[in-house]
């Protein structure tokens, strides 16, 4: 079953956002995209030389005709992030930007202050900002206040594969922002992590390393696609509330040796 997602005027055909970095080969990247059938692909910018390495990569990506979400990976300051976003808008001809302003090199934790300042500048410049953020409620409020339509809290540090470090905080964001597009970005390791986020109502999952460095990237991409879809369907279907006591699923009336009132 297809569960499309609207971002502005664009309808994404899948809630799986796939990164394009770190694959063992261009062929592995292509096969993973084919298997994932993602709603969008994330890309980045790096220095170019006359050898034109970036152009070769782009030829692979554009053949899939998918929406593109450029990032500002590696930016540590507001100015760097804003300039990178402006360059990305020109190169990829999109106003979408996955905004990363890194505050700590060990955890790659986003700098909430820099993120907020850069987001405000970019929203004013007409960008649709996808802020890569911690799961902090107050930061989410501030980002929402300055015009971010999408919030992307981390599950865990980038590439760590730890899954959802703080399910309570992620659920709280979902509860407090029922109409906001929420995406878990980063830290996902296993398809079950992605499913867990989707089951509490997240709108999409953005991941890269869990697929690109898997033993078989294309097969893992397929597994994630199923998990994300299953999680979404389960959320829509309505998951039962947890209880402390057992509740027999098989009706007891008229079972053999049944006696009313226990007699």
């Amino acid at each position: 079953m297809n569960h499309p997602l609207n971002i502005g005027d664009t309808i994404l055909q899948s809630r799986f956002f796939l990164g394009t970095a770190g694959y063992p080969s261009p062929d592995a990247l292509s096969k993973s995209i084919e298997a994932a059938k993602p709603g969008l692909l994330t890309v980045s910018l790096r220095r170019e030389s006359k050898a034109g390495k970036g152009q070769d990569f782009w030829n692979i990506i554009k053949s899939f005709n998918l929406p593109i979400l450029p990032n500002t990976a590696g930016c540590h300051s507001v100015q760097e992030a804003v300039t990178t976003a402006e360059m990305a808008r020109e190169v990829f001809e999109t106003n979408w930007i996955k905004l990363e302003v890194i505050g700590d090199d060990y955890t790659l934790q986003p700098d909430p202050y820099g993120l907020l300042e850069a987001s405000e500048t970019l929203v004013e410049k007409g960008f649709e900002v996808f802020p890569y953020m911690t799961d902090d409620l107050i930061l989410a409020n501030r980002l929402s206040d300055i015009g971010c339509n999408i919030l992307m809290p981390w599950g865990a540090p980038i590439g760590s594969g730890r899954g959802l470090n703080n399910p309570y905080a992620l659920k709280l964001l979902r509860d407090r922002f029922p109409n906001k597009t929420l995406v878990v970005d980063a830290g996902i390791g296993a398809p079950s992590h992605a499913a867990a986020a989707m089951e509490v109502g997240y709108d999409a999952i953005l991941l890269n390393t869990a697929v690109s460095t898997a033993g078989n990237p294309a097969q893992m991409a397929s597994a994630f696609a199923k998990a994300i879809e299953a999680g979404r369907e389960a959320y829509l279907a309505g998951i039962i509330a947890k209880q402390d006591s057992a509740n027999a699923s098989t009706p007891l009336i008229d079972k053999p040796f049944w006696h009313q009132d226990g007699s």
């Binding site: 990164g19 970095a21 170019e48 970036g54 152009q55 990032n71 360059m87």
Partner: protein
């Protein structure tokens, strides 16, 4: 008579002949026609402004293109 100026292109110091605009730099770096974007001294320069953008001694130019990203 033209002067020689030093311009840093993608982190590499290089000598160019002045007067010089941004389009000249991209031409000499053999990047015209590629899918690129440029910043001068940390500030984005739109492609329609390349020929109007004067490059001076000590300027830092960043030229970027699509790359894998997560």
């Amino acid at each position: 008579m033209s002067d020689s100026i030093k311009v840093t292109v993608n982190g590499q110091p290089k000598d160019f002949k002045a007067p010089l605009n941004l389009y000249d730099v991209l031409e000499q770096e053999e990047l015209i026609g590629m899918m690129i974007a440029v910043a001068q001294n940390g500030t984005f320069v739109a492609k329609e402004k390349y020929q109007l953008t004067v490059i001076g001694d000590g300027d830092e130019i960043e030229i970027v293109a699509p790359m894998q990203g997560g």
